[in-house]
């Protein structure tokens, strides 16, 4: 696949984004039945006649899911419908038990809202078209065949545990005017949404588990043109990082087509994390007619204005206001805050601070040590495998002198490798700093005796040469010594 260099693409074309985010709600039961929504259970153990779509079964709406939908809508400054209905989206697929999905069509519960994202200190306003309720499908596992898709597979296994899990689909209005920043704006939007949904407490928002999924619509138009170009919809974008990469890739791919005089095909495309490209999915030429019609098994939803008002009062502060507040509370500079936001670490730092760490130490660990692991593994910060509580514990160990920063890195490694809590890793890996003065004194003596030339330099007033001796001692102590104390002891001995 030919792509145009990004700078060339942006010189000629103006990208327009449309983001569809599916959020699995964290209600204990499913959208239309009492089955558990817990992730990771044995296949087909969380099912009943309703979510299996058995003949005769009927859906009944989970009120908690409606409440979450309204709170999400309000947090995105949407109008909450006074009256709305569910609709059936009809298509045949084995992982959809009824062969229709209960969704919402032209009467969403929340519509016409907006939100803001902050990128490099600049605020971008994102229009929200709608947020609607629907049920998730089951999961197919296609076995055999080259592509892992249903075509060409030897057989397919179906797990209906996910069938009927409540979903909210949040659709933006076309996002225009982001220029070269489009990929980053897309990422910043999904990050903001993830943090907002977590603060609302309505979802686990774990992209790697699929509880937050993003479909990215991208189109290009020649710079200066106001009509939209043909869009593609990229699915299977399962991390914040991928959101940015997928949008960037689509821009360069579409630009190459347009630059060579071709036309972009309107289609669904699949993102491939490993190769960093998108490939065509189902072609829209065979686009299905979903034959939407109002779901006759359910009565309309008419949330009372009092209830909506009550829910409005429970909303957390808006994302941009929150960023402003935490920056002041944490005493971060503009630049520090910018890095924190673009790393998607605001929630993590907040939780770490809440667990007892200082803001600066929390920032340091999330943006250095944990960010390094995240990049190496190509996952988001929160998927690295260290909790904010553990970060705070490690920092506490540094502060009480049990370990130093260098040893702390080994503790992070141990925790990430699943060796247990920070304290357990320190014990198991024998990382605690040696405070035995006798052992230290011996090491100091040995360093002094082995380096007479350095000792002479120090004696002649070149105090900075002490560093070499400290290094030698730390090496003997395998890093498990307090460098300040070592320096003190060396100077005492020589002085």
């Amino acid at each position: 696949m030919t792509v145009l260099p990004y700078a060339d693409a942006l010189a000629a074309y103006d990208p327009v984004l449309g983001l569809e985010v599916h959020v699995e709600l964290n209600t204990t039961s499913k959208m239309f039945c009492g089955c558990s929504t817990a992730f990771g259970a044995e296949p087909n153990t969380q099912v009943c006649p309703v979510c299996l779509g058995l003949p005769g079964s009927l859906p009944a709406v989970n009120a908690k899911a409606v409440e979450s939908a309204i709170r999400i809508g309000l947090a995105l400054n949407c109008t909450i419908a006074e009256w709305c209905r569910f609709a059936r989206k009809n298509y045949f697929y084995p992982d959809m038990p009824k062969n229709y999905q209960i969704s919402q069509y032209d009467e969403p519960i929340a519509y016409d809202g907006w939100t803001e994202v902050v990128l490099d200190g600049e605020i971008y306003r994102i229009g929200i078209e709608r947020a609607h309720m629907e049920e998730d499908t089951g999961k197919s596992l296609h076995v055999g065949g080259a592509t892992g898709r249903i075509h060409g597979a030897d057989y397919s296994l179906l797990d209906y545990n996910r069938s009927g899990v409540p979903l909210i689909e949040i659709v933006t209005k076309p996002v225009e005017g982001t220029g070269a920043k489009a990929p980053e704006v897309a990422r910043a939007y999904v990050t903001m949404l993830r943090d907002l949904l977590r603060t609302l407490g309505v979802s686990d928002v774990r992209m790697e588990q699929g509880s937050l999924r993003c479909d990215a619509n991208v189109s290009l138009r020649p710079v200066g043109r106001s009509t939209f170009g043909t869009r593609t919809e990229t699915k299977n974008v399962n991390s914040l990082r991928s959101v940015e990469r997928a949008v960037r890739y689509e821009i360069t791919r579409q630009a190459a087509i347009l630059a060579s005089g071709g036309r972009v095909t309107q289609e669904t495309r699949h993102w491939h994390e490993d190769s960093g490209i998108t490939t065509p999915g189902r072609n829209k030429e065979t686009a299905e007619d979903y034959r939407y019609f109002p779901e006759p098994d359910l009565v309309p939803i008419a949330p009372s204005r009092e209830w909506v008002e009550e829910l409005h009062a429970t909303l957390p502060e808006p994302p941009t206001a929150r960023l402003k507040r935490v920056r002041a509370e944490w005493g971060f500079s503009e630049l520090e805050m910018r890095d924190v936001v673009s790393a998607g670490a605001v929630n993590a730092i907040e939780a770490t601070v809440a667990a007892g760490a200082t803001p600066q130490s929390a920032r340091k660990w999330w943006l250095t040590e944990i960010a390094r692991h995240a990049n190496e593994e190509g996952v988001d910060l929160e998927a690295v495998g260290v909790t904010p509580q553990q970060v705070a514990e490690i920092q506490a160990l540094v502060e009480n002198g049990t370990i130093n920063d260098k040893l702390a890195r080994q503790v992070f490694e141990g925790v990430i490798a699943g060796e247990g809590s920070p304290a357990e890793v320190v014990t198991a890996r024998k990382l605690a700093i040696v405070s035995d003065e006798g052992a230290l004194a011996a090491a100091v003596n040995e360093a002094i005796n082995a380096n007479p030339d350095i000792v002479d330099k120090i004696k002649s007033g070149k105090v900075q040469a002490t560093g070499a001796l400290i290094g030698s001692v730390m090496k003997q102590m395998r890093g498990q010594a307090d460098a300040a104390r070592v320096r003190e002891m060396i100077l005492e001995k020589i002085g």
Partner: protein
């Protein structure tokens, strides 16, 4: 031979309320009553074919449990120990549910419909599952994949449909009671042509949970019986709010039993619907209908004429809304999780297996309606068909509102004609659809409606049904009218209409 001479006649000819009283007093045992009906089924059902599945052993076992409960002095339901038949479109754990279709052959549902659950919780005894047009699509049971049911009045004729099995079982004394479901007349039209009582409760009055959906916004389970009071007692057992059915109404069930007992129509305003009569109605049907109206007048009711101008559009409206909903409701029959699976040779794709199964498993009428409904919902046609039909549906509801502002109940013949010959209309779907001309408006509007027997048409000696329609949640009014008619007619006839039924047992 007449029925009076049939074996077990003493037991099987009794009303459900009498059976319940005798079972409770110990005069009869539930086991005895159940066995008598099972014997009757064995005797006549080869000819009638009302049942698709007879659950004899389980019926006797549950009857024995009821007897034990009564002997121990435990509290039991008002119809405890009374056996009944269940239309084979409601789930009953452990008994196959076929919906009269090959596509569900052998499916054993793992759960009970709410209606089934209530019957069992009220100590009633389920004899088995009754025949129906495939997925309740039809007016004759000829669309059943398992062969038609025959009308006990004349076994060369249809028993109505879709619930022909339930109506025929009751009319042939195979069961004192049965459960039907009514989407466009599937309880009332069979009741009319078999000389029995059939009631479609207010939409949302009884739960649809476990009723395999034909058209969700129209379907409603209800009672089939030989007497008005029996129907009311069964209505009382099955009706009421069910959290599993979002469309069920969270309101007290109208006191239908008291209404049936009162049987009082004095000072009641009864509206005769102008549009439901005239051309296309058999003379004998009109004659018996008019006589019944006069009878009600003589009992103190005030008779007025009301016009419901949009009722003439009810049939086309219904035949857009119903197929649209059923095209979606029947999508789940795809061979993936239950029922028939065709063409799974290890190479065919899931899509091919779905298509082959649906091709082999669905009958012609089902396919016809799925195709019509799919078309009516397609983009570009939705507004012209489904959208337009919903608007007309609203107009029909307004006709009812208007009419009920003038009259307490509305009345009409239940069907334009009496039972026709098996095979007579199978090649003419439109002629078949016209059977439901009078019954469909109440399904579209969701109000309560019933059919009561008012005699035999002079020209063919076949039963004629009298339809009564009441406003939503005024189901009790149906029973007041039905009860009054029944009492007056029984005294005129010297007994129930079904006393004149030729015994099907003698026809073998």
């Amino acid at each position: 031979m007449t029925l009076a001479e049939a074996p077990n006649a003493e037991t099987i000819r009794q009303t459900a309320v009498d059976l319940a009283t005798k079972i409770k007093s110990g005069e009869l045992s539930a086991v005895e009553v159940t066995r008598s009906h099972l014997d009757r089924i064995a005797e006549v059902d080869g000819e009638i074919h009302a049942f698709l599945y007879v659950d004899g052993e389980r019926a006797l076992a549950s009857a024995a449990r009821v007897d034990a409960k009564i002997a121990a002095g435990e509290p039991v339901g008002p119809l405890a120990g009374v056996p009944l038949a269940l239309k084979d479109i409601l789930t009953y754990t452990g008994a196959p549910t076929t919906c009269g279709s090959k596509i569900l052959e052998g499916w054993l549902p793992p759960y009970d419909a709410t209606v089934t659950r209530r019957l069992l919780d009220h100590d009633m005894v389920i004899l088995g599952k009754t025949n129906l047009d495939e997925f309740a699509m039809g007016s004759s049971t000829e669309n059943s994949a398992y062969g038609p049911t025959r009308n006990p009045w004349d076994t060369s004729r249809i028993p109505g449909g879709s619930g022909g099995g339930s109506a025929a079982a009751v009319a042939a004394f195979e069961a004192p009671l049965a459960i039907g479901t009514d989407t466009g007349g599937s309880i009332r039209q069979p009741a009319a042509v078999t000389g029995t009582v059939g009631v479609k409760p207010t939409y949302g009055g009884s739960s649809r949970y476990g009723l395999v959906a034909l058209a969700s916004s129209l379907d409603q389970p209800g009672p089939c019986a030989r007497s008005v009071l029996d129907a009311a007692l069964l209505h009382q057992v099955i009706a009421g709010h069910d959290p599993c059915d979002s469309t069920s109404i969270d309101q007290p069930v109208p006191d239908v039993v008291t209404a049936a007992r009162s049987a009082d129509v004095s000072r009641m305003k009864i509206g005769v619907v102008t549009e439901l009569g005239g051309e296309g109605y058999a003379p004998g049907v009109e004659q018996r209908f008019n006589e019944a109206v006069e009878l009600l007048a003589s009992l103190g009711a005030e008779i007025i004429e009301v016009s419901c101008p949009h009722f003439v559009y009810a049939l086309p409206t219904y035949y857009l809304i119903l197929p649209a909903e059923c095209s979606s409701n029947l999508a789940k029959f795809d061979a993936m999780r239950f029922g028939l699976r065709v063409g799974d040779d290890g190479f065919a794709s899931a899509e091919q297996v779905m298509a082959a199964t649906r091709e082999a498993g669905f009958g012609a009428e089902v396919k016809r309606r799925i195709i019509i409904g799919t078309y009516a919902l397609s983009s570009g046609y939705y507004e012209a068909y489904y959208g337009q039909a919903q608007k007309v549906r609203t107009l029909i509801s307004r006709d009812f509102d208007q009419a009920f502002s003038q009259a307490d109940v509305l009345v009409s013949p239940s069907t334009p004609i009496t039972a026709f010959k098996i095979g007579e209309k199978v090649d003419d779907p439109l002629a078949m659809y016209r059977n439901d001309l009078c019954t469909i408006p109440s399904n579209l509007a969701g109000n309560a409606s019933a059919s009561f027997p008012v005699g035999l048409a002079p020209e063919d000696g076949l039963p004629v049904g009298f339809q009564v329609m009441a406003p939503p949640l005024a189901d009790d009014r149906l029973y007041r009218v039905g009860g009054a008619l029944e009492a007056a007619l029984h005294s005129a006839w010297n007994g129930p209409l079904l006393d004149r039924l030729p015994d099907p047992g003698a026809l073998r």
